[in-house]
Each structure stands twice: as structure tokens, then as C-alpha cells.
Symmetry: C2
Subunit: 82 residues, 2 copies
């Protein structure tokens, strides 16, 4: 079966996010002052061939740990859909 893993990788909340800060300031220059904070991360979609949702989740987790995310600076969440 084919599953889709939606992986969201965000900078840890304790860390500064300079890219988000720059975008926040730019949005204020466009008069969007209601926006108080911006954080920017990555969204990665994997198409996975697996026998079960659990196996697909396991493969996505290995991919995150081995390559996709940086444990020092980021956290990640995985959502699997069929």
C-alpha cells in the first residue's frame, strides 16, 4: 500500500529563529501589525510503500532521524495518511 507521511520540522521554541524574525518585521512594514510572531520550518511529504500505517510511520521516523531533521535545532512531527 502507498502511504503519505507529512513531516513538519520546526525550530525549537527555545531558539531564536532569525528567518522568522525577518519575515515578521517585513509583515509589519506591510501594515500587518496583528501578527506578533513568526516561525519558519519545513514541511516534507514522503510517498512510502509499506504494509501498514505503523510500518510507514517507522520508515518516516528513520528518515527523519538519519537525515531530515537536526536534533540540536529542530523538532519534528509525523502524520501518516493513506
Amino acid at each position: 500500500m502507498i502511504f503519505t507521511a507529512h513531516i513538519t520540522i520546526m525550530p525549537l521554541t527555545e531558539l531564536l529563529d532569525p528567518q522568522g524574525k525577518a519575515v515578521n518585521e517585513s509583515l509589519h512594514r506591510l501594515q500587518l501589525n496583528a501578527i506578533q510572531n513568526v516561525r519558519i520550518g519545513k514541511q516534507i511529504t514522503l510517498t512510502i510503500e509499506a504494509n501498514s500505517k505503523e510500518e510507514a510511520n517507522e520508515i518516516a521516523d528513520v528518515a527523519c532521524k538519519k537525515m531530515l531533521y537536526n536534533a540540536v535545532m529542530e523538532n519534528y512531527t509525523i502524520v501518516i495518511s493513506e
Copy 2:
């Protein structure tokens, strides 16, 4: 009230995603051959001061249209949480 807008910006499915292709090939070199396709986009979290969920959604939508996404190459979805 404070709302959080979770914005997912992905490359259009009709377009090549060279970054995703490179990651896919690298994952195969790590023996993760069950992964058939990778697409990489952005996840942006906005903290918004608004009177209602609808107003927060409207502000996030304006931010996307004015700055955050590129209509030629990307699409976006917004999910608002409190």
C-alpha cells in the same frame, strides 16, 4: 485573543521539485528504498492577535498573498488554532 495560524506552503504538484528529488536519492543511498517520492515545502507559524478565528484566517491569508507564497510555483493551506 491570540490565534496561531499554521501555514503549509508546497511546490505545485505539476512542477519538478529538485530539492525533493535530491533528498529522495540520498534516502535511497541510506537503504530507505520504500520511499518513492519526496516533496519539500515550508511550514510557517504566525501568532496573530484577532477578535475571531475568521479574522485571524483573513490576516494569515493576506500575509500569504502579499509575501509568503509564490503563486507561480506554490500553493498554500492555512489552519487556525487558538
